[in-house]
Subunit: 299 residues, 2 copies
C-alpha cells in the first residue's frame, strides 16, 4: 500500500494532467501523469480522472487537500475559477475555487488565472509558474518569458504581475508546418545557423513574414533547401517576429525564461543573438514551486 499524501499538487492543462504527491515534511512521494487533459473531459469526468491517478495515495477517513492550476479552472473545465485582474500578485489559495467532488477523500482547490483588460489578455497555469519563480528568486524585478504553445511575456515588479502579452508563436509554428503547403517542406530536425538567420530576418522585416513562408517552399523546389533547415528557419522567422513585437518587454531589462529545456534553449539563443542575457528556470520545477507556495497558505 502506498503512503498516504499530506497534500497533492496538480498541474492540469489542456492535454495533460500531472500530480505530485507530497508528504507532511514537504517531500515528494510520487510524481504521476496521465493524458487526461482538460481538453478531452466533460465537467463530470474530472473527478474520476483525478481519482484514477491519485486514488491509491488518498488517506481514508479524511479529505486530502489537492491544489490545482491550469485549464482545469477554465469555463469548460471542472469548475470555473474566475480570473484575477492584473496588476496583482500571482493568486494564492485565498482566491481559489473549490471544485465539487463526491468522494469525501478529496478537497480540491483550483487557483485562478490572470486577466488583463486592455489590451485584452488571459493566462491559466503560467501564473503559478510565476509564483514559483518569485518564491525561488524573491527579489526578481523585470520580465519573465514563458515560451510554449502560447508564449507569455510578463512584466513583474515588487512581487506583482504588472502587465503581460500572449503570442501564439508555438501554435502558429504547428499550424503552418502541419496544415499548409509547408508540410511538404518542413522537417523535424534542427539547424542552428538557419534558426539564427531566421530570427534576424524575422526581426528585421516582420512585414515580409508571409512572403518568407512561401519562400521556404520555393527554396526547397528550386534550390533544394533541406527540410531541417526549413524547419529551423520557420521557427526562427516566427520567434524573430515575436521578439520584434515584444521588444519593450526584453530590451534593457532583467529577463528570465521559464519553461521546457528545449524551447528555453531556442529562445535563449535567439535573445543572446540580440545581446540579451536571460536567466533560465525549468517550467515543471516552477509550477511545483508555485503550488507549494500556495500550499504554504493553508496554514
Amino acid at each position: 500500500m502506498s503512503a498516504p499524501a499530506d497534500w497533492i499538487a496538480v498541474d492540469w492543462g489542456t492535454t495533460r494532467l500531472r500530480a505530485w504527491v507530497m508528504d507532511g515534511a514537504g517531500r515528494e512521494i510520487a510524481h504521476l501523469a496521465s493524458d487526461r487533459g482538460m481538453g478531452g473531459l466533460a465537467p463530470d469526468a474530472f473527478e474520476p480522472a483525478l481519482l484514477e491517478l491519485v486514488g491509491p495515495h488518498l488517506a481514508e477517513g479524511r479529505a486530502t487537500p489537492v491544489i490545482a492550476c491550469g485549464m482545469v479552472g477554465a469555463r469548460q473545465g471542472w469548475i470555473e475559477a474566475a480570473y484575477e485582474a492584473v496588476p496583482c500578485a500571482p493568486p494564492g489559495l485565498a482566491h481559489a475555487t473549490r471544485a465539487p467532488a463526491a468522494d469525501p477523500r478529496l478537497d480540491v482547490m483550483i487557483l485562478p488565472g490572470l486577466s488583463q483588460d486592455r489590451p485584452a489578455d488571459v493566462m491559466r497555469g503560467e501564473e503559478t509558474q510565476i509564483a514559483g519563480f518569485l518564491a525561488t528568486v524573491p527579489d526578481f524585478d523585470g520580465t519573465i518569458c514563458l515560451p510554449g504553445t502560447h508564449t507569455k511575456w510578463v512584466q513583474v515588479s515588487a512581487g506583482e504581475v504588472v502587465s503581460f502579452r500572449t503570442v501564439m508563436t508555438g501554435e502558429l509554428f504547428a499550424a503552418i508546418s502541419g496544415h499548409t503547403v509547408l508540410r511538404h517542406t518542413v522537417g523535424h530536425g534542427s539547424d542552428e545557423a538557419a534558426f539564427i538567420d531566421g530570427v534576424a530576418d524575422g526581426m528585421a522585416r516582420p512585414e515580409a513574414l508571409t512572403a518568407r513562408l512561401f519562400g521556404l517552399r520555393a527554396e526547397a523546389l528550386l534550390h533544394g533547401l533541406d527540410a531541417d533547415a526549413a524547419a529551423s528557419r520557420l521557427s526562427g522567422l516566427l520567434i524573430g517576429l515575436e521578439l520584434a513585437g515584444a521588444r519593450g518587454y526584453w530590451l534593457g531589462t532583467r529577463l528570465a525564461l521559464v519553461g521546457a529545456a528545449g524551447l528555453i534553449a531556442r529562445y535563449a539563443a535567439a535573445l543572446r543573438a540580440q545581446g540579451a542575457l536571460p536567466e533560465v528556470a525549468d517550467g515543471d520545477e516552477m509550477v511545483l514551486a508555485g503550488l507549494k507556495a500556495a500550499s504554504a497558505g493553508r496554514n
Copy 2:
C-alpha cells in the same frame, strides 16, 4: 450527341478540374467542372479523369487539342512542365509539354509555370491568367495582384513578367482559423469596419501580429468580441501585413486585381483605404482568355 470540340481549354488546379469546350468559331460549347484536382490523382489517373469530363465532346478519328494550365504540370502532376524563368512573357504553346495519353482522340499540351531564382519563387496557373489579362489590356504596365490561397504580386512591363512574390495569406487565414485556438473565436460572417481596422493595424504594426492573434481570443473571452468581427479582423490583420510587405509592388504604380469576385472586393477595399485605385478582372475569365491566347498559337 454533343457537338465535337475544335479544342478544349483546361484549368487543372490542386482541388479542381475545369474545362471549356470550344468550337471552330471560338465559341464556348460547354463549361465543365469536376472535383478531380491534381492533389488527389496519381499520374496514371489524369487521363481517365479528363476523359470522364470531356469524353462526350471528343471527335472520333482525330486528336482534339487540349491546352491545360495549373498544377497538372507540377512534378506530382500528369507530367512535369518545367518552369520558365522570369523575366519572360507568359509562356505559350511553344514552351508547353505534351502529356502522355493513350486515347488517340486526345492531344494534351500543358503550359509551364514561372520560376524566379532570387528570391526563390514559383507559380503555376497564374501565368495563364496574366497572359489572359495582357491579351485583354495589351498596354498594361504595372503590378498584377492575384489574390488566393497563395496570393501573387506580379510586376509586369512590356508584356513580360519582370518579378513576382508569393504570400501565403489565404492559406494562413485557413490554418489559423481552422487549426489553432482561434477556431473557437473566428466565425464565417464578415464585418467591414473590423476588416478595415485590421488592415490598418496589420500595416502599421506588422511585428505585433502574433500578439494580435491571441488578442482576438482574449477579446472574445473578456469583452464578448463577435465571431464575425473576429473573422474580419483576422483577415484584415493578415492582408494588412501582406500590404506592408508588398508596398513596393502597389505603391505609386498601375495596379490590377485578378481573381474571384469576393476576394477581389476585399483586397480592393483594403487597397482603397491606402489610397490605391486598382483595376479589377475576373480570374476565371482571365484564365480562359490566357488559354485562348495560347490556342491562337496553334496556327
